[in-house]
Symmetry: C3
Subunit: 336 residues, 3 copies
């Protein structure tokens, strides 16, 4: 079994079936801390450098919370203008300096490849929190972890899964990464539903098929789909030449309770990378699904904390001693 | 006695005389920690989500410090642009997600009603840190708590108080909320001094009179006022159609040592919601009052920490076990 | 020996030879904590108000990390717009209020003299993190501390040092402050190399010469310099009337491995205040020097943490009890 101690977490490509199972096994152990049934001080005194050179409240706070839940402290940097990078400092220099201020780094940056470049200069493990359109491995891991937990709940494993991915499959970084990770498992069926212009890239489809999995491609949502997971994505307006261009596709694959009932099984799990656009004309994932127990979108973000706790524990080599530093929780929590 | 455990703190309207006394009693117990005579770790491991979607250094840091003083950690979000709200995420979704990252939330937001809307989606208690021109209950509580402490210092209670409120009473959210809270006590005299155009709204005056208290209204500061408290407010330039319009009223009720001596008693306590405009032409609350021992404006902000500590302790249900986790303070502090 | 307990750290002018030695002696004791060989909780429960009214990622995070390494918590404020200062609040009021929220303050502000003005209103010790072009005492201390450590490594002390300062010596605040501190030692030789227009100010040269040290001034880098330290500075574009004006000087004293070999000894230590401009046309301090073991620039930033830890320990009066609160470090660190 591969050890993660001292390693960078930069790309989904660095994982195999065993390392995924290792991460998920540690994530499972983190549940009682996230639920406030107990707490741990295993990283009491450790410092996370939480470097968000691009804004992302959700991911930034999730990393910070995960580190706090292990007992550690967080030193945070947000935005680009507040950075020496603006004065021409190289990522190598920035990494050399800032890694001297922490025990581990979580980093988001708008440029593809920037986090890996930073990691070269870093003296501590670096976890990629998203580098442009390139990689966002913790999102892919939390998606996959959610699939495993939802499947377990129904007495199944990831092997044999049927997943329907819907919407903008061309620009959606999350569906690309998740597809790659699913390839590590057995006998997966992919149903890929998107407008032709927003289809899943051929390279990803090749990867899936070369790994021996089954792919069905469609540009309409019709008939009854026996999918276990419906993974809905948003039209990423910012990737289109104009708002009008984006609007051409908006609402084509709108999901609401009526559409769900018509096309999916009564226990098909609904996922979405969030944020979900809830404005009246978004037509993406309607609020009437909030009452549907299969809507897993908020379980996804909760699972993100567990996965990030696991990655911190693993890269800092404390995964086996977490419970040794347990203490009680004295305060009220409805999560317990 | 009402319990606050697990409750949201959204509006001054949710308090009664008993609940106010409960909060103040817990705030009193917080004094030794704020003065660094000892410290407590009762919330060691708990996480505050400090969500300031609108800038407010004073309030933000006060909440954060209050939580740290109870032993907890703070994960902070500032500004709107760094938020998924900008991509059309509903407050419900934001609340659902971010409340998964903390044990309690303090939140400020520019839109009226936004914090209450957030609270619907939140899985943890939410404390309103100000929502537009609507509510800022912790400011009202710290003002009232300051009045109680100043009155106690003079051997009096809030009952029977004579308070003079001066300046822009139309736009001043703090005087509205404070007036409502004072109505929960007995036999209060309000002297409301403002230009006619900036008078206290009728609805507030009705509330005061319906509760059986006495109101005197004036548009000039004249004669000798036997007020116990002089509550000065600022001309809120941003609420006027133009800077010139605001300037028409500027300095009309300027308070300095000379004005104070002329119109007030030698022990009338001076309060102000802060920040005070100290620019030369502000004519609001002059710096020569800094040497006046009755100037309570910095005692107000200190008291804000105690009140916020009390609210955290109460909503998290630890108000009776705070001292159980006491430890010594080893470092120098001139607050002791 | 002067005590620092409760004192502000505002200017290099407040130090003498003894107080410098005291700070360095405490900084030396901080090394094991920074290297994660052990940790201390001496300031567990203390709060740093980290007030950066001007952006400076490096300095801000360094202060925060230093405080965390002593066991304390950090409440941070960044930027000016998010501050009541923008509404006309005086620095005195801001200080009065914000100092009520912490045990010690580190502050950076764009205006000369602002930190000293803030300190007048503060109820806790204030450490200057840079006020405009005026003072940045912790940078000067970390530079001097680096010189001492590098000299010790070679079996020497600061006394008798030969330092070459190169580049823009007119605008470089760091070389001015460092020069003043070096004057507290014995028998220093300064070789000052800059374009005539960017020469070291006469007042600094007078200070050096009046203290009995030796100064050689040149506008070319030529011949063999037997300097122990080569302190390189950057052309501060923002101080010139135009970019073209700045570019006239750019690259005049470029340092790379070839230049180093030609003009310096094989063990001359290379320093730079950072950030270093690594863009292709910067011609300042080339990346080929990264492999040179005498390049001390990243040791400088590491030493900054030690010096700031020392200042916190000293101003809060815990310098003699730090190790009393030691605990073990459980997690992986390659710094050990």
């Amino acid at each position: 079994m591969q050890s993660f101690t001292g390693e960078h977490i930069l790309s989904v490509n660095q994982f195999n079936h065993d390392s995924i199972q290792k991460i998920f096994s540690v994530a499972n152990q983190m549940q009682p801390y996230a639920l406030r049934q107990k707490r741990t001080k295993v990283l009491d005194g450790a410092i996370l450098g939480n470097l968000f050179f691009e804004a992302s409240t959700r991911t930034r706070v999730s990393f910070g919370t995960a580190f706090n839940l292990l007992g550690g402290e967080v030193r945070e940097t947000t935005g680009m203008e507040s950075s020496a990078l603006a004065k021409g400092e190289s990522l190598f220099d920035t990494a050399r300096v800032l890694s001297g201020y922490s025990d581990v780094v979580a980093m988001r940056h708008p440029d593809n490849g920037s986090v890996a470049e930073f990691a070269v200069g870093s003296r501590v493990p670096v976890i990629n929190g998203g580098d442009g359109s390139n990689e966002h491995p913790t999102q892919a891991l939390l998606d996959l972890y959610t699939i495993e937990k939802e499947r377990n709940y129904h007495g199944e494993s990831i092997d044999g899964l049927h997943i329907a991915m819907i919407g903008d499959l061309k620009h959606g970084r999350t569906v690309h990464s998740l597809s790659k990770l699913l390839c590590l498992f057995k006998n997966i069926r992919f149903t890929l539903i998107s407008p032709k212009e927003l289809a899943m890239p051929d390279s990803i489809i090749d990867t899936i098929e070369n790994a021996g999995h089954q792919v069905v491609i469609s540009d309409t949502l019709e008939g009854s789909l026996d999918a276990d997971i419906c993974y809905q994505t948003r039209i990423q307006e910012e990737r289109f030449p104009s708002k009008d261009e984006a609007n051409k596709y908006r609402g084509k694959f709108r999901l609401n309770q009526q559409v769900y009932t018509k096309h999916f099984q009564s226990n098909t799990v609904i996922m979405h990378p969030l944020p979900r656009d809830s404005r009246a004309d978004a037509n993406e994932l309607d609020n009437d699904l909030n009452l549907n127990p299969n809507l897993a979108i908020f379980r996804q973000t909760d699972n993100g904390v567990l996965v990030r706790m696991a990655l911190f524990a693993l890269t800092l080599g404390v995964e086996n001693i977490v419970s040794k530093y347990d203490t009680d929780v004295h305060w009220y929590s409805n999560k317990k």
